[in-house]
Symmetry: C2
Subunit: 460 residues, 2 copies
C-alpha cells in the first residue's frame, strides 16, 4: 500500500486557482429537458412573472434556463466558497484496507463547514442573489435543520434577515440545531405558528399538531409573499439548487483528473436530489455527450423509495399542496414515510432533472434499509475517522457493497461517493442503533397504491 | 483586498510531503527544565519504574526526556494524521474586514475531525504506543468529552479496548458525546461507579454525587493498574501530551514560512496547556535559542485563572489527590471553578512546561470573562463561518482585541491564534448566551487564599 500512497494522497485538495469559476448546468446537455413546473390552478407551465412574488429574479432565470451550459459563479460567492472549499476528495485507504478490497474508494467530503452539509453551497448563492436584488430578507422552512443552518450562515454573511419556520417537533426535539441558527442571527419560529393565516388555520383544525414540512413551507411562502422586500428560498428539488450544487461534482472531477483517475462508479444519496444532482453533474454530462461512460447510482431509504417504487408523474412538492406541480418520481405528496432517522431523505418526490435522467435509464437506483445503513456508518467511522450523517451513510452502504463485489471479482474499480455531511446532530439515531432499538419499516404496496390514487388530476 | 488575496490563500494547506516527520520537544531547548513530577508519598521525583504500572513504557520515556530535540512520528501515526491533517492555517480575511483592521489574522483550525478538537493528535500517538507494547486496552476519564471522543477514535483504529469513566453529570447531560464514544466502540461508565473500590467508597460517602474529574481519574487509574494488559492515558498537562501536540505549531510555522509570513503575536487558550503548548512550541523554541522574538499570549477564563491569579507550587493534578505532584501554576487542587461552559479550561493547574516558561517571563497571560468570550465567538462565527468551541473562543476574544489595537495604531501585525475545536456539543452554552442568561462569576481573593492554604506540605 505504501508505494501507491506516495502517488495519490489521502486527501486531494485543489488549489484556489483550480477551483471552478462557473456552475455547470447539466440541463444544457440533456436532449430531453426536465418537464417544467406547472401552475396547479391552470395546469400550465409557470411563467417568470408567476414566480416573481415568491423567488428572487435571478434565481427564477436560473430555474428556467435549460440552455446555458456554464453560469459564472459571482465573485462574492466565490470568495465565500474559499472559506470552506475546495472540500477534500479523500482516498479511503483505511476503509479499503479494512474491507480487503482491490477497489479504490474515493469520497467527496462536504461536511467540513458549520452547517455540517453540502447545503451551504446553494444557500450562499441564493442569499447573494437576494442581496443583489436589494431585498431585506428571506424566509424558508427547515425540518432536520441542515438547510436552515446553512441559510442562516449565508444570510448572516450578507447581512440579510432570515425567518425560518421549523417543524415544531424538530424545534422541540432538536434544540441544538435551533441554537446554531439563532447564533447566526436567524429568527426561528416553530411551525405551525400563530403568525400566519395558514398556521392559525392549521392550529385550529388540528389542535396540538407537531407540524410538518409541508405546513412549514406554506407558512414561509405566506410570509415571503406578504412582506415587503422578502422572498422565499428552498434547499433542494429545484433546478437552481442542482445548478449551485454542481460545484461538488466539478471539484470532484477536477481532483480526479489531476491524478489521472477515471471513476467507474459514482454513488450518492438521494432525498430531493440536491447532493446527488450536484455530484454527478459533470459525469452525467460526459455520458450525455458520449465522451465517457459511468455507472451512476442513487441510494435512497427503503422507507421512502421515490425512485425504486414511486411513479413518474406531476405532483405537489409539499404535503400541504400549495406548491407548484413538478414532474418527478413520487410516492404521492400525501405519503408519510415511517420514522427514518435520515431526515434529509424523507421526501416523497425527487428533482425533476434526476427523475428525467432516471426515466431514460441513464442512472440506477437502490433502496437500502436503515439498520444496514447505520452498520455501514459505524464501520466507516471507525476506520476513516469521520462520523457520517445518516443521509450520507446511504451512499457509504452501497459503496462498501460495490467494493466487496470487487473483492469477489478481483477488479480494481474506482468507486467515488458523496459524503454529504456529518452526524453530530443525529446522535439520537446513533444511540438507537447502539442500543439495538432501530427498526426498518418499509411501505406496503397497498399504502403506495392508495397514495398514487390521490395524485393531481393533471396527470390524467 | 483582492490583490493581496491572490498572494495568500484563505487556507494554507501543506502538501503531504511537507508535513512534520518528527515531534518537537521544546524541553530540549529550555535552559531551565520543567520541574519533575514527584511521588506524593516520598516527595522524590517519580522514577520510570514507579510510573510503569500506570503509563505505557514509551510514553514514560517521552515524559522524562528533557534532552532529545526531535522525536520521530511513527509511520502508523503519520498515516493516521494524513486522514485529517494537515489542518488548515486560515487567513481570516472576513474577520479582518469586519473589524476594519490593518492586522493580518491567521488561525490554525484543529476542529476538522470527528473528535472536534486537537485532542486527537495525542490520542492517536498514545494509542499507538499502547498497541506497540502489546496491551489489550487502556482507560481514561473524560469530563467535557473531547478527550474521551478522541481516544475512542484512536483506540478503535488500532483495535484496542477503551474504558472511559465519564463524570456522571456529563454522562447524563451530554448524551451525544457519550454516543459518539460508544459508536467508536468504547465502553462508557458514569463516574463514580460501583465498578471500582474508589467509586464505591465515594458513592457511599456522598450518596447522589454527580461526580468530578478527580474521581473519574481515580477510577480510571484503579482499573488500569488492577487489570492485566491495561494502562491509563491522559489528554493534557503531561509533557508527553505537549510533545505530540507540537504538530500543531510545526504545521503552523511551516505554513507561515511557506508564504514568508513572520508572526508577531501567537495566541492560544489555556486549560491544562495541551493546545497552547503545542501551538507555541516552535515559536518559543526560536525565542529560547535567540533566533526570533514573538509575543506569546495564554488566554484563560476569569473563572479559573491559574496563570494570572494562581501560584507556582507543587500540587496534585486531580481533585481526588491520588495523582503525582506537579510543579505548576495552580489555584489549588481543591479549587472548584464556578460554572463556566468552557469545560476544557476548568482545570485548577497548568502544564509544568508552560508554568516554567511563564514564570521566566517568556509568555504573557490574560484572563477573560465568558460573556465577552461568547460575544467574540458569535462575531467570529457570523463572518468566518465556523462555530467555535467555547474554549477556542477565549483565543478569538484576545485575537480580536489585539486586532482592534492595531486599528488604533495603524500597525499591520501578523496575529496567529489556535482555533482548537468546534462548538457542536456546546449549544446549551450558546443557548444561554442567546437568551441573555449567561453570567460571569470570578473567584474572590479569600477563596483563592483558602485554597492555597491547602497546598501539599512538600512546598514548605
Amino acid at each position: 500500500m505504501s508505494a501507491e500512497m506516495n502517488k495519490i494522497p489521502y486527501k486531494i485538495y485543489l488549489e484556489e486557482n483550480e477551483m471552478p469559476k462557473a456552475y455547470y448546468n447539466l440541463r444544457a446537455d440533456m436532449p430531453i429537458k426536465p418537464a417544467p413546473l406547472l401552475n396547479p390552478g391552470t395546469g400550465k407551465p409557470l411563467t417568470f412573472e408567476e414566480m416573481q412574488p415568491i423567488f428572487c429574479d435571478e434565481l427564477i432565470k436560473q430555474e428556467l434556463d435549460n440552455d446555458t451550459q456554464y453560469i459564472p459563479i459571482p465573485q462574492e460567492v466565490a470568495d465565500f466558497y474559499k472559506m470552506y472549499r475546495p472540500s477534500p476528495l479523500v482516498r479511503a485507504y483505511c476503509l479499503e484496507k479494512a474491507l480487503d478490497t482491490p477497489a479504490h474508494i474515493y469520497y467527496k467530503f462536504e461536511g467540513n463547514n458549520t452547517s455540517g452539509s453540502h447545503k451551504l453551497n446553494s444557500a450562499i448563492a441564493q442569499a447573494y442573489y437576494a442581496k443583489q436584488q436589494g431585498l431585506k430578507g428571506v424566509t424558508t422552512e427547515t425540518g432536520a435543520g441542515q438547510w436552515g443552518t446553512a441559510l442562516s450562515m449565508a444570510c448572516s454573511y450578507f447581512g440579510l434577515d432570515l425567518k425560518v419556520f421549523m417543524v415544531k417537533v424538530s424545534y422541540e426535539q432538536k434544540p441544538f440545531r435551533r441554537e446554531v441558527m439563532r447564533t447566526y442571527g436567524a429568527s426561528v419560529t416553530p411551525s405551525p405558528s400563530m403568525e400566519t393565516a395558514v398556521g392559525r388555520r392549521i392550529n385550529e383544525e388540528f389542535p396540538g399538531t407537531t407540524g410538518s414540512l409541508g405546513c412549514a413551507i406554506s407558512e414561509a411562502v405566506e410570509v415571503a409573499t406578504t412582506t415587503e422586500g422578502y422572498r422565499y428560498e428552498l434547499g433542494s428539488v429545484l433546478n437552481q439548487v442542482l445548478l449551485h450544487q454542481s460545484i461538488i461534482g466539478l471539484e470532484t472531477k477536477a481532483a480526479l483528473d489531476k491524478y489521472g483517475i477515471k471513476a467507474d462508479i459514482v454513488i450518492g444519496c438521494a432525498g430531493g436530489g440536491s447532493n446527488l444532482g450536484g455530484l454527478i453533474a459533470p459525469f452525467m454530462g460526459e455520458k450525455l455527450r458520449g465522451e465517457a461512460d459511468y455507472r451512476i447510482i442513487a441510494v435512497e431509504p427503503a422507507s421512502c423509495p421515490s425512485f425504486t417504487r414511486g411513479i413518474y408523474a406531476y405532483d405537489f412538492c409539499d404535503t400541504g399542496k400549495v406548491s407548484p406541480l413538478a414532474k418527478m418520481y413520487t410516492l404521492g405528496s400525501g405519503f408519510i414515510p415511517s420514522a427514518n432517522h435520515a431526515g434529509g431523505l424523507r421526501f416523497h418526490g425527487m428533482s425533476p432533472v434526476l427523475s428525467e435522467l432516471y426515466d431514460e435509464g441513464l442512472m440506477e437506483a437502490i433502496a437500502v434499509e436503515q439498520t444496514s445503513v447505520f452498520e455501514a456508518a459505524e464501520k466507516f467511522a471507525r476506520v476513516e475517522g469521520i462520523l457520517p450523517a445518516p443521509e450520507s451513510s446511504h451512499a457509504i452502504k452501497v459503496a462498501i457493497d460495490e467494493a466487496l463485489k470487487c473483492k469477489e471479482t478481483g477488479e480494481a474499480k474506482n468507486i467515488v461517493f458523496g459524503l454529504t455531511g456529518t452526524g453530530y446532530f443525529d446522535l439520537v439515531a446513533y444511540q438507537k442503533y447502539n442500543d439495538g432499538e432501530m427498526s426498518d419499516i418499509i411501505p406496503t404496496d397497498e399504502e403506495l397504491q392508495a397514495s398514487f390514487a390521490k395524485l393531481p388530476k393533471v396527470n390524467a
